[in-house]
C-alpha cells in the first residue's frame, strides 16, 4: 500500500510513468513513419510557419518541420540519457558494492571520491567536464555519467553495508561461499530494487541534464538535434516563434515526468518497509 493507490496490485503512479515512457519510446522507434517530413529537409519558403495542418508543430527558421525534429530528437535524447545512465550504473554499482562489501581502505578511497564528486552541484560539474572536453557526443556522455555515478554508488554502498550484516550472508559463508559468489547471488540481487528505483529517477535527471548542456551549446552539435539543442536554437526566435521552444520543452517535461513517476511508483511498490 503506497501513495496513489493501486490497480491489480500495481501502483498507479508506476503504471502512469511506464505508460508515458512507453509512449515516448514508441514515438522514438516509429519516428521515421510518423514524421511528416525528413527532420533535416530545408524549405526556406516555409520559414517560421506557426503550427497548422501541414506542420502540426510549425517550422523553424530554415523551414524544417518541428514535429519531425522533436520526434527524431526523442531518439537522440533517450539514447544519450540511457547510455549515460547505464555507464553511471555500472560504475556506481561496481564501486558501491566493493566499498560496502569489503569496507576498510577500499571503502575509504571510494567514499572520498564520492564526497568530492558530490561536493559540486550536478549541473556545474557536467558543464565543467563538457567544456573541458569540448562539445561532442563522447564528452557529453562522459560528463553525464560522471555526474550520475556518485549518487548511485553511495546508495549501493549503504545498501550493501546493511545487507552484509544480515544473517543470510553469514549463512552463505557457513556453506563455504566465497566473495564473488556472495556478491553475485546474495548481495546484488538484494540491492536490485533500490538500484532500479534510483535508475529510473536518474534517467529523468540525465535527460534533463543533457537538455541543459545542449541548451548551453555544450551538448549535441548540429545537424544532430536533441530536445535540448532545439530549445537552444529556438530561443533566438522566442518572441516570433514560441513553438520552437514550447514543443521540445514539453517533450522534455513529459519524458522526465514519466521516469520520475515510474521511480516513485516503483519505490512504493518495492520498498518492503512500505509494504505489508
Amino acid at each position: 500500500m503506497g501513495r496513489g493507490g493501486s490497480l491489480a496490485g500495481l501502483n498507479i503512479m508506476a503504471l502512469a510513468g511506464a505508460g508515458l515512457i512507453l509512449g515516448v519510446v514508441a514515438l522514438a522507434i516509429a519516428a521515421p513513419s510518423l514524421a511528416p517530413t525528413h527532420p533535416d529537409r530545408l524549405s526556406l519558403e516555409e520559414s517560421l510557419e506557426p503550427p497548422g495542418p501541414g506542420h502540426p508543430f510549425g517550422t523553424d527558421y530554415y523551414g524544417r518541420d518541428v514535429a519531425s525534429r522533436v520526434l527524431f530528437g526523442t531518439r537522440v535524447s533517450l539514447a544519450i540519457g540511457l547510455s549515460a545512465q547505464l555507464i553511471a550504473l555500472v560504475i556506481g554499482v561496481v564501486l558501491g558494492a566493493l566499498a560496502g562489501y569489503f569496507g576498510g581502505w577500499v571503502d575509504t578511497v571510494i567514499s572520498r571520491a564520492i564526497d568530492i564528486f558530490l561536493a559540486f552541484p550536478d549541473l556545474l560539474l557536467a558543464i565543467g567536464i563538457a567544456s573541458a572536453l569540448g562539445p561532442g557526443l563522447p564528452s557529453i556522455l562522459l560528463a553525464l555519467s560522471l555526474v550520475g555515478w556518485p549518487g548511485l554508488c553511495r546508495l549501493v554502498r549503504g545498501e550493501v553495508m546493511a545487507i552484509r550484516e544480515r544473517d543470510f550472508i553469514q549463512a552463505a559463508r557457513a556453506i563455504g561461499a566465497g566473495h564473488a559468489w556472495m556478491l553475485a547471488r546474495h548481495v546484488l540481487p538484494n540491492v536490485a530494487a533500490p538500484v532500479l528505483i534510483a535508475s529510473s529517477l536518474g534517467m529523468g535527471s540525465r535527460i534533463l541534464q543533457e537538455a541543459s548542456l545542449s541548451f548551453l551549446g555544450l551538448g549535441v552539435q548540429p545537424p544532430l538535434a536533441s530536445w535540448g539543442s532545439m530549445v537552444h536554437y529556438g530561443l533566438r526566435w522566442l518572441s516570433r516563434a514560441p513553438w520552437l521552444v514550447i514543443f521540445p520543452g514539453l517533450a522534455i517535461a513529459v519524458a522526465v515526468l514519466g521516469f520520475h513517476l515510474l521511480g516513485d511508483g516503483l519505490r512504493d511498490m518495492l520498498d518492503p518497509r512500505l509494504r505489508d
Partner: protein
C-alpha cells in the same frame, strides 16, 4: 569428534583502553557423533562466538578446532572446503538466515551448486529428498521465505544444513525464535535426523528446559569461560557452580505450585560490576554469595572429570578435606 581446544577470541572495542577482556577465554569442549552437547549461558557470555568459531565463520585468536583429529586452522583451499562441509550451522532467526530474494528450494540447492555436486537433475532430486526429510513438500520449493511460517523456514534451514551431508551441526538457539507450539515439532525433527544419520549436535542455548530435554552433556558458560560441565542430569540435579545454581533457580517453571514465596521487599538489581575484572580472578565473584578472598586472587581452574566445575568453593563436588570458604 569435533573438538574445540582452549579457544580464545578477543574483540577490539572502540571504548576500551588497553587489552580488552576476551569474549571467549579458554573454552574447550568436544562433540561426539550421535551426541548432543549443549553450551548454555546468558546473552553476551560468548556462546555464539564459540559457535561461529566452530563452523569457521570466525577465526580464534588462539586455540584449535579439531575435526576427527585434524586442525581446521591449518587447512587451506579445497581441503578446507571439503572438511568444512562436515560442520554446518542452523541459526537462531530463520527469517534472517534466508535470503529474501531466493526461493527456499534455491536456498537448499545452493550448497550443492556451490560445491559442484551432481548435475542439475540430480540436484533437483536431492533438494526434493531433503525437503521430504524435513517434512516439507516439493510444493514449498518454489516459495519465497516470507511465504512460509517460522517453523517451515527453520525446516528449510535444517534441510540446507543437511544438504552437504555434514557429520556435525551447530544449532545456535534453533527454537528460541519460534512459537511455543512449533518448538516441539522442530526438536522432534532434529532428534529424528540425529537418530537416522548419527549426527553430532552442538546446541547453543539459553533455554535450560530445552537443553535438559534434548542434550546428553552440557557446559555452562559465564563471561567467556566455562564454569561447569557434565552429564545434563548430573548438572541439573546437582549443580556445583553457584552460577549454574542461580541460573537453574531462575527458570520459570510452568507449575504454580512451585512458585517461590513472593518477596516482601523489592528484589534489588545487582550492580553490574566493573568488567575490567582481572584475568586472575573468578569472574562470578562479585555476584557470588560464596565469594571469598581466594576468589578475587586466583582464577579457579577445573580438574577435568566427567562432571567438573571451575570454582574454588563448589556446592557439592567439594573434596572432603576442603574446609570451604572462610566465614
Amino acid at each position: 569428534m569435533l573438538v574445540c581446544e582452549d579457544l580464545v577470541k578477543t574483540y577490539r572495542t572502540r571504548r576500551s583502553v588497553g587489552p580488552a577482556r576476551p569474549a571467549v577465554d579458554g573454552v574447550s569442549l568436544g562433540v561426539a557423533p550421535g551426541e548432543t552437547f549443549a553450551l548454555v549461558g546468558e546473552s553476551g557470555c560468548g556462546k555464539t562466538t564459540v559457535a561461529r568459531m566452530a563452523v569457521g565463520l570466525l577465526r580464534p585468536a588462539s586455540g584449535r578446532i579439531l575435526l576427527e583429529g585434524r586442525d581446521l586452522a591449518r587447512m587451506r583451499g579445497r581441503e578446507l572446503m571439503t572438511l568444512r562441509r562436515q560442520v554446518q550451522i542452523v541459526f537462531q532467526d530463520p527469517a534472517g538466515a534466508l535470503d529474501p530474494r531466493q526461493t527456499v528450494g534455491g536456498a537448499v540447492a545452493e550448497p550443492l551448486l556451490l560445491h559442484r555436486l551432481g548435475g542439475p537433475s540430480w540436484r533437483r532430486r536431492e533438494t526434493e529428498r531433503l525437503f521430504r526429510q524435513v517434512g516439507l513438500g516439493p510444493r514449498e520449493m518454489g516459495r519465497f521465505p516470507h511465504q512460509l511460517s517460522g517453523g517451515q523456514k527453520q525446516r528449510v534451514l535444517i534441510a540446507r544444513a543437511l544438504s552437504l551431508r555434514p557429520r556435525y551441526i551447530i544449532l545456535d538457539e534453533p527454537v528460541s525464535a519460534l512459537d511455543v507450539s512449533v518448538r516441539a515439532q522442530i526438536l522432534n525433527l532434529l532428534a529424528a535426523i540425529q537418530a537416522e544419520l548419527g549426527l553430532g549436535y552442538l546446541l547453543i542455548s539459553h533455554d535450560l528446559a530445552v537443553v535438559r530435554n534434548v542434550a546428553s552433556r552440557a557446559a555452562v558458560m559465564h563471561r567467556g569461560r566455562l564454569v561447569e560441565e557434565g552429564p545434563v542430569e548430573e548438572v541439573w540435579s546437582r549443580p556445583a557452580h553457584p552460577y549454574t545454581r542461580a541460573l537453574l533457580k531462575a527458570i520459570p517453571v510452568p507449575d504454580p505450585a512451585l512458585r517461590p514465596e513472593p518477596p516482601s521487599s523489592p528484589p534489588p538489581e545487582p550492580e553490574a560490576d566493573p568488567v575490567g575484572a582481572r584475568a586472575d580472578s573468578c569472574l562470578y565473584e562479585s555476584l557470588c554469595p560464596r565469594s571469598a578472598r581466594l576468589c578475587r586472587r586466583r582464577r579457579p581452574r577445573p580438574e577435568r572429570a566427567d562432571h567438573w566445575v571451575a570454582c574454588h568453593y563448589p556446592l557439592i563436588l567439594r573434596r572432603r578435606d576442603d574446609p570451604g570458604p572462610p566465614r
